[in-house]
Amino acid sequence: MASITASHGDPHAVDHHHEETNWFLKYCWSTDHKIIGLQYMFTGMAMALMGAFFIYVVRMQIAFPGHPVPGFGIVSPAAYNAAATLHGSIMIFWVAMPLIIAAFGNYIIPLMVGADDMVFPKLNRLSYQLFLLSALILIASFFVPGGGFGGAWTSYPPLSASGAFNLTPMGSTMWLLAVAIEFVAFLVGGINFIVTAMNARARGMSFTDVPIVVWMIVLSSILFMMSVGPLVAGAVMLLMDQNFGTHFFDPKHGGDPVLWQHLFWFFGHPEVYVVLLPPMGIVAEIIPVFSRKKLFGYRTIIYTAIATGVLSFFVWAHHQFVAGIDPRMANVFSATTVLISIPLAEMCFAYIATLYGSSIRFAVPMLWALAFVGEFLIGGSTGIFLGASGADIHLHDTYFVIAHFHYTFFPIAIIGTFAGLTYWFPKMFGRHLNEFWGKVHFWGTIIPFNFIFIPMFINGLAGDPRRYYSYEHFPQLATPGLQALRMTSTIATVVMLGFQVVFLVNFVVSLTRGRKAEANPYQANTLEWAAASPPPHGNFPVLPTVYRAPYEYNHPDREVDYWPQNEEPKEAIAVVSQAASEEATR
């Protein structure tokens, strides 16, 4: 941590009323949004290592069934189910959400809107503490009698409601509590994002001057708030079924297991857009900077994000086509699901269109941003197979689904995180990451990634179900060809995980030995680059005033190819707003 002290500069530069604080108060009890953002980031990264370890165990068991896994031992069916369940739960709730929403949201939003902190700093601290509590409860659940919950991240009752069925009574309750507390943490945190973006914007920053990533995190928070409620209710009901003898989901006493599924997926589907929008925002920041070109279709991107968010409330039962719902309902949901691809496709096309007429530099952040677009295209496209109800009969709960959602989730959680991290590392730590090793890490992640999941499409078509401990007992699935594909996925997993060491080393070494970074090393426009690298407590000596939209690159009236939002205009009439420039070109 001493290295962070060094690279944060003098935290007392701005505020002279601050008393001397000790290490604990400064780094563990801080209300500074930057520290809280870093707390989320480091916690998320630690949880990612845990989630990665679990899937390593799972993949090794599939490739070498019955053999002891190095670093773990023999995998029992119960341990396998727990590893698969925890991999999914951890990656979504304790890696994707803290990294791309809370870490970047907390660090970047006040800087990008030109504020000195979030509007509710103490509430912000509380949100992280709740989040940390939820992570600790989850980790504790591994060590209780019976072990961690193994009923899949979807936790369908009656399996999840009764220890007699799942054999992990304590683990199930702790898992559910951890998820519920994590939801509360993000509800609390989301309020800060939304109100800060609405109210604490710098003078002169209208809503159309707000950078896309801020819009996306705000929209994501609103979507989360509107969708999580029914699942909170469902979690209360399931907790009561588990521990207080109620029968909300118990068919033997008048309950209905499918009710849980509806409550879960009513949240579960909007949730994937909750996690999708922020990294799309990060990519929208990176592409203009490294192609030196104004973002195409600012308003289009925002409208399609809103449209996607609204439509996401009407597609949830595509997760339940064969679950026992009324078959007529399936047709409605199939139609809405296939159609929701349209606003999403439009967003991707807007990013691709930005490249037209640009001058692209392939720096490491740009590589990650471009990889996001390419890989997500695969994820989005393969979703159509599953949204088409007739096809989903065969593909539901097979490895085809796993491949599909990893082609969406991996860009979201991992590529998006690396894009944001490599982009904002100089701002956060005052130093540069090593570019060469950054490229090694990039290719060492992306190439194996495709070798992990493309075989899974084939395995899924052949009928490999999800969450299977091994395929040895099924003659049609235990063929050498299919097993070779599983082996490919496993080897690629190990290779990809191995390359993450390159990133970790690059990260740690660059914290203290990286090339020192100036305030605006990329010559970008948005307000965070107007602050020092890293910014002091209070961010800006004087809060900035905004004169223009965020993506004015290569403006014809300028000598240099960028135009920071807070740079004062030479003459009063030179103020160019987003609306005015769009007007001119209509």
Partner: protein, 189 residues
Amino acid sequence: MKVQATSRTAAGLPTGKLAVWWVIASEVPIFGGLLASYLMNRVANPGWSEGLEHLNLWIGAFNTLVLISSSLVVMLAHAAAARGDGQKAAARLRLTAAGGALFLCIKAYEWSVKIRAGHVPSAGGLWQYYFSATGLHAAHILVGITILLIVAAGAAKGKELQRVELIGLYWHFVDVVWVALFHLFYIVR
């Protein structure tokens, strides 16, 4: 250290008020989800009306009166705070909290009567919904009482008077939720 961001109003509303509205917005789907599940099950189980007969309409109505009155009192507290009269606002906030406490006592009595009669959460369809809905609501009342007292303590010293309106908004929301519960469980049998 006072953060400048907290007092900015670029969207025209004070940050505290914006925050409370967003909190209320996120709570609506929580109760909505629980009550929608209840409604679907209620429609499918006409036999539950027999159990609902056991709920005492008069106690429910009295509780509703208590909460609505306390909402009125909290509005008066806001009026006092708007005038800058912290002492009066604090007294009225504490009266509101007392109303909430009275509500909880009556609810506790009601619950104990039901439990002694064998109508427990694990007894079956209707009762698990009744106890979880009223329990979730009661938890929100308890949190509300706590915040009322904290804001009252500050208001009595003349500090942070803008928070009186904010806790009032939350209290009104909790009141509205109760009115919905009262209708669903006590009136529309």
